[in-house]
Symmetry: C2
Subunit: 312 residues, 2 copies
């Protein structure tokens, strides 16, 4: 918690721009700023526009990277919903403090004879068989985190996502961290389908792991969701219709003209730079820190995202 | 992530009011709602007004419980600052997404000759020797959490706070969880004193443990801090003066007339009810959950707070 006076001394370090902080061949990068400054262009990869959602609302734009490897049916269905403009004009319905921001159809539960009617679905499915875990497969990347985790036998990173796996049951799943996006459901495991989605806005609710289908994570714009007014109703649902926060539209980046896409790239989690970043976060070497933690949990490792450099 | 339709089926459980959910002598409480419904009046204790801060600003009131057992010098100094009205008219200066909301004097770093001057301090100290840990003492309560933690040899609860300890170094400290309140400092460990404070508004930043003096936790009004607009400057500082969020005043509850206090009580962490609550969170038994986690981390155990019943 640097105070203001101290802030200016460390802006250089945070921006990776102070001459003394740039890693040279002779000095291994020790801080996250140094790691990122030393990363090569190939350590980054561009987001796939076919698996990138852009949510637009009055507060700005939120970018979500989808995870088809972990929820193939749900991701395909969400893309189908997006392509038939299902979400356009729907709203954030629930913002529960230290938990989730959830969006969908305010009239989803309207019954026959009521004035309001649920948003119709033309081609997509309303519900799907759950995808809480996937079978361990050779083609599923996994960069293990050596640090022991309480909630799972193994944690690590699969592609651009924090993940876990259980060698005994031979299953893998995405972990619930800040920014994780999942599929709302009722009590029945197979009652979700992607018409109602949530993003985690608080401390990692790892107890949701393997209980709900995770479809991706927010890679830009989290602060627009995390600062939404909290709902006063039970579970953080907005009690009055006028409190709901309208969604203008959700589009697949691939369906937008190039100038409307938000080109981002992610640090490869199988790169040496990312391994160095994990160590930089496990043992913070910035002068401010007096006691390095000697440990890092899977949700506390940032998976860096940055705009693609112009002209790339 | 219950959907709306499902919500109404579980409101009863959340409120602890559905007849079938109230624990009887014959059925051990299994969910948090059941545990709280079954807790006896003596399982709760009232907050000490001498160690309760009330922060008032345009958004409402935030209640902070101080932890004199873990930071005696800093808590005494913060109370001295509050009593000389140091914080009145100061502001939230920094809101960094998934990290902290920090408040203090916008002019703290003004230099001689500048129009703005730092807020003067009359009786309290500006800086103090750090209190990152305290020696293990027989009179320091500690209810251990059996679940293994990565960041500390032991975690658990000390009084109303999540805590950790290291039998080897014979030290104890409060852990950084959602709502934890600490003392901003510069690079020098002893450069803080309580004039600039922060509350954690994101995923538990446990790597701050033992690196900063923790003085308490927010027990009411977290949603007013966590939904503050994020700062656009480095480290989430507001870049423009007009973005800062003014603080009307901070008072010690003991110094307010009784009708202006906010009487709250906390579930005793050394009670059987709290032990049952831990198990209810370690293995969620609500019908919505399909796979109990079998684990809980110290920051994911809620320490329940409720208004003192009228007439009590």
């Amino acid at each position: 918690m640097p105070r203001i006076r101290f802030l200016f001394a460390i802006i250089g370090a945070v921006c990776g721009g102070a001459a003394g902080m740039v890693a040279s061949a002779a000095t291994a990068p020790l801080t996250m700023a140094e790691v990122l400054a030393a990363a090569k262009p190939d350590d980054w990869h561009a987001l796939d526009p076919e698996n990138t959602l852009i949510l637009e609302f009055a507060r700005g734009r939120v970018v979500i990277e989808l995870a088809p490897a972990f929820a193939p049916r749900h991701v395909a269905n969400i893309k189908a919903l997006v392509r038939e403009k299902y979400f356009d004009g729907l709203a954030f319905l629930r913002v529960q403090d230290n938990y989730v921001a959830q969006w969908g159809d305010p009239n989803a539960d309207a019954r026959a004879g009521e004035a309001a009617v649920p948003r119709p679905i033309r081609h997509a499915a309303r519900t799907l068989k759950a995808e809480f875990t996937v079978p361990l497969r050779a083609d599923l990347p996994f960069v293990p985190l050596p640090d022991r985790d309480g909630y799972a036998p193994q944690t690590g990173f699969s592609g651009d996502f924090p993940a876990a796996r259980d060698p005994k049951s031979r299953t893998a799943w995405l972990t619930h961290c800040y920014g994780t996006v999942g599929v709302g459901r009722d009590e029945d495991a197979d009652s979700g389908g992607g018409t109602e989605l949530y993003a985690v806005i608080g401390a990692s609710p790892r107890w949701l792991d393997r209980n709900i289908t995770v479809v991706g994570r927010v890679v830009q714009g989290m602060e627009l969701l995390s600062s939404l007014p909290r709902g006063n109703g039970p579970l953080g649902f907005y009690e009055k219709a006028e409190q709901r926060v309208p969604i203008e539209r959700i589009r697949l980046a691939a369906d937008l003209p190039p100038e409307q896409r938000i080109p981002l790239e992610v640090l490869r989690t199988d790169s040496a730079a990312f391994a160095a970043l994990i160590e930089a976060r496990r043992n913070r070497r910035e002068a401010w820190y007096k006691v390095p933690a000697g440990y890092i949990d899977v949700c506390s490792v940032p998976i860096p995202v940055r705009p693609v450099a112009t002209g790339k």
